[in-house]
Amino acid sequence: MRIVAVTACPTGIAHTYMAAEQLEKTARALGHEIKVETQGAMGIENELSADDIRRAEVAIFAVDIEVEKLERFDGVKVIRVPVQDAIKNPKGIFAKIQG
């Protein structure tokens, strides 16, 4: 599966990156292709291009704040979870996608 994801938390110091790490690791373990954009204290990193988004089957938003540049995802299937879920139980999120 091709997946894109955005992680973001209020201070953007820790949870954003922990969630990104968990999503990447879990996706790899499950054999998915994933690109994770972080929206943290350093701004947007590893930014998803229009192409990345167009090719993805699903987008995961592991966020507790508004996603920036939300318009990029018009017409894309989005699964929105709290950022903590991505840290605590990333497998659960992927199960939801497939289920």
Binding site: I13, A14, T16, Y17, M18, Q22, A41, M42, Q84
Partner: protein, 848 residues
């Protein structure tokens, strides 16, 4: 009425003093009145109080407030002369007698916010006003204030003459005792208090009252007790807290008289402190405080004392944590109850729950460690990160302060103000008296320079024995060096005393208020003459003693070429220099905004002075308030001063700060500051001064704590915040802690697997930091996996910083690494701080 009304001239006046007719002007007035045989009656027309103008006690008891109409009436043979003299004093000198009451630092750098641990423990605390900082824990010892015996053994007066004699003898003995103590006294604070006691003991009103009581048939002891009660009641009714405080002194004096009359200690049983104690009293006599065992005395709570009372001044000089104005608190404390007095925050904590006890135990340890960190900086010479040195010296007003100053790391004394020796007395100090003081300072210097400034008095600080004229504009008038020629005797006496003291250490001589080259020439000629005298007399002095001037009049800046040929050093007095430069009085709120030392124009002026003096090979320091404010340090380093001289309490902090600045960066910062358009831009530049501080590593040894004994999430977070405080990375612990907790409120930072990463973005932290705590016993954190936490990593970051992104990358890397089991395992198993440190540094790719 029985007196022949030959002549009784009188005059009236309105009290011009903001603080009312308090002890100092009252003593001037009574001193003058005492020179005449006439009766001098003084009436406060507002309240009808009638006083004897020859008595300090009775004048201050008349409760004269600002603006009160008063009448002075004289009768007797020399009444006309007395009237003229007193009238001249009241009209010309009295308006100049006011001086601000001593200020008390209660705030400090941490504004009073109840620490979270105390808030969450829900303890009740009583607020009080902290007048001497520190924290003390001990058992309450309730002390009744100077208790005069109520029962006086029922004895009856035998013969008024004998009773009168007993009193006279007692007065003489107490007087002799106080005078003996004065001779031994080295602390200016204690000496001033003793002198005040002496004045009260010999007060004419007290003597009159005692005689009156004895004439009515009282015994000497009864008379003393009643006279005491009378004056205490009168003083306590006055409006001014400052005057009410004198009641405690009167009680102390009377008790001493009683002791002499009975020939034994009455203050028995002496207050004996057998364990760590907090003494709670209405107020204490200075003598009572001095008699307490200081090893056991942890704090003082005084209901009725104010910041200006003698006991408080003494407590501050002894470093005893002290609270006053505690409201009802004192009533509810009972003997033997264990309490904490937190005079950093102005609190009494009466219930020592386990949580409170633990908090303060840790707080005291933290404060000690912070002191240890600071003292490491204090004992070494101050050196910037790029190797430029800056001497940090102390400003003092008495020889007794030198020991403390050197303990705090003073590299010398940059300003020894000698005015203290001259004020508050009726005649000038003798050469011998001055020599003792200066020689003691020179010896205490032990090779370090002690800059002694010759007396700097003038219209704003009148001395009764100088009879200085009243001036419309004292700051532009007759003061400092300008009155040396007329008061030659005074000047030469001091000069001799200083020169003689120069044989005992490294004494530098400094002259205040110089504005022209002629003044310097005159002073130098005087020095040469005095040296000649001493040589002839075979008295030793340092022939190479350095000679310098204050740079406090702007004209000096334009004759530096000529001055540098004549003097060895300069010390910039920014307080006066700045107000003369801008022609704006810094004590006048309407214009003080103009005389701001951080205005670009003034900074340019200072830079030019320092540059030129140094280019001419002379030494230049700064002793004004500008030097004591740590925020100005980058500017001062940028100028290239040789020395700054500040209040000794500021020295350790300033030295720590200097070690983290780079002189090169500071020079550039100053260049940008002088180019700013206004003071606001300079302030903003300094606010982001972080860029010119040497960047501290994100992580270092003092930020790794292993085997922590914290027992809860609260304690763990506090311990991390304290670690940053000890390392000098935060000065606002409560603000930082609250920032961390604000984050916790959104959701728990316990990320599972026994790890937690509390974090916050806050300018309460001076440097971006990673701080690690390994707990002995895991604590509950509300973690994602509901498991307790045993490793806590605090990430603290400034809100805006040039280095933000670079540091943020490290934080992001750490956050990602924590998702990695191997990484976590190695941190969990690391047994000492060093391996935690190297593991983190290599994984996060940061330099230590």
């Amino acid at each position: 009425m029985t007196q022949p009304v030959s002549t009784s001239p009188e005059f009236t006046f309105a009290c011009p003093l903001v603080n009312g007719l308090h002890a100092r002007p009252a003593s001037h007035l009574s001193g003058l009145a005492d020179d005449f045989a006439s009766d001098c009656s003084f009436t406060n027309l507002r309240n009808g109080a009638v006083a004897n103008a020859k008595s300090v006690l009775s004048i201050i008891a008349a409760d004269v407030r600002a603006g009160d109409e008063c009448r002075v009436r004289l009768s007797g043979a020399d009444a006309d002369a007395a009237c003229a003299t007193l009238r001249r004093f009241v009209e010309e000198d009295l308006p100049l007698c006011d001086e601000p009451l001593p200020e008390v630092a209660t705030g400090g750098d941490e504004s009073v916010v109840l620490p979270r641990a105390l808030r969450s423990a829900g303890v009740s605390c009583y607020p009080g006003v902290a007048v001497s900082r520190g924290i003390g824990r001990g058992k309450v010892v309730l002390v009744s204030s100077v208790a005069l015996p109520r029962e006086l053994s029922g004895e009856t007066a035998t013969d008024p003459l004998r009773e009168q004699e007993r009193i006279a003898r007692a007065v003489a003995q107490v007087r002799a005792r106080i005078e003996a103590m004065l001779v031994r006294q080295t602390s200016a604070t204690e000496a001033a208090i003793l002198k005040a006691h002496l004045a009260m003991l010999t007060d004419v009103s007290l003597a009159d009252k005692l005689s009156e009581l004895i004439a009515q048939g009282r015994t000497s002891a009864q008379a003393v007790v009643e006279a005491c009660e009378f004056f205490v009641a009168v003083l306590r009714q006055t409006e001014s807290a400052y005057i009410r405080e004198r009641a405690a002194d009167v009680q102390d004096i009377c008790l001493q008289l009683l002791e002499e009359i009975y020939g034994r200690e009455l203050q028995s049983p002496a207050i004996e402190l057998r364990e760590p104690s907090v003494v709670v009293a209405e107020t204490l006599a200075p003598r009572q405080l001095l008699s307490l065992d200081r090893r056991q005395l942890r704090a003082l709570v005084l209901e009725r004392a104010s910041a200006t009372s003698h006991v408080v001044i003494l407590a501050r000089s002894l470093g005893i944590p002290t609270l006053v104005e505690v409201g009802q608190a004192a009533l509810s404390l009972s003997q033997g109850q264990e309490i904490i007095v937190d005079a950093d925050r102005g609190l009494i904590i009466p219930q020592l729950t386990t949580a409170v006890g633990r908090f303060y135990e840790r707080e005291l340890r933290t404060l000690r460690r912070r002191q240890d960190t600071l003292s490491r900086y204090a004992t070494a010479p101050a050196m910037t990160a790029d190797g430029q040195s800056l001497e940090v010296a102390a400003n003092v007003s008495s020889a007794g302060e030198l020991t403390t100053a050197f303990e705090r790391g003073a590299d010398g004394v940059g300003l020894f103000r000698t005015e203290m020796l001259f004020v508050g007395r009726d005649s000038a100090p003798t050469e011998e008296e001055q020599f003792e003081v200066y020689a003691e300072a020179a010896r205490a210097g032990a090779g370090r320079a002690v800059v002694i400034r010759m007396f700097d008095v003038g219209g704003d600080k009148p001395l009764p024995y100088l009879h200085l004229p009243r001036e419309a504009n004292p700051f532009l008038g007759y003061r400092g060096a300008r009155l040396y020629a007329e008061h030659l005797e005074l000047f030469r006496t001091q000069l001799r005393a200083i020169l003689r003291a120069s044989a005992f250490g490294r004494v530098w001589l400094m002259i205040p208020m110089i504005s022209s080259i002629e003044e310097v020439g005159w002073v130098k000629a005087q020095i040469a003459e005095v040296r000649g005298e001493l040589k002839t007399e075979g008295i030793s002095f340092d022939p190479l003693m350095r000679f310098g001037i204050m740079c406090e009049v702007p004209s000096v800046a334009f004759i530096l070429e000529e001055l540098c040929a004549e003097v060895d050093f300069f010390s910039v007095g920014t307080n006066d220099l700045c107000q003369y430069f801008f022609a704006a009085d810094r004590d006048n709120a309407k214009v003080s905004v103009l005389s701001d030392v951080r205005r670009p124009g003034f900074l340019r002026f200072l830079r030019q002075i320092v540059c030129e003096v140094r280019a001419r090979g002379k030494w230049v320091g700064m002793c004004g308030e500008m030097a004591g404010d740590a925020r100005n340090l980058p500017l001062l380093l940028g100028m290239g001063l040789d020395e700054i001289s500040v209040a000794s309490s500021e020295i350790p902090t300033l030295k720590e700060r200097i070690s983290r600045l780079s002189a090169g960066d500071c020079e550039q910062l100053l260049a940008r500051a002088v180019a700013c358009r206004g003071v606001g831009e300079v302030e903003a530049l300094l606010e982001h001064e972080q860029s010119s501080a040497r960047e501290r590593p994100l992580l270092d040894r003092e930020l790794v704590i292993i085997e922590s004994e914290s027992e809860s999430k609260e304690e763990a977070i506090r311990e991390l915040v304290d670690a940053l405080y000890i390392a000098g990375r935060t000065r606002e612990r409560e603000r930082l802690e609250d920032g961390v907790w604000a984050r916790e409120a959104v959701y728990s930072t316990g990320l599972g697997h026994g790890f937690a990463i509390p974090h916050c973005k806050s300018n309460a932290v001076a440097d971006d930091s990673i701080c690690v705590l390994k707990l002995k016993e895991p604590v509950e954190w509300g973690a994602l996996d509901a498991e307790p936490v045993s490793v806590v990593i605090l990430l603290a970051m400034r809100e805006s910083d040039a280095t933000a992104n670079r540091h943020m990358q490290v934080f992001a890397r750490l956050a990602r690494k924590l998702m990695d089991e191997d990484f976590r395992e190695r941190l969990l198993s690391a047994e000492d701080a060093a391996s935690v440190l190297t593991h983190l540094a290599s994984e996060l790719e940061i330099a230590l």
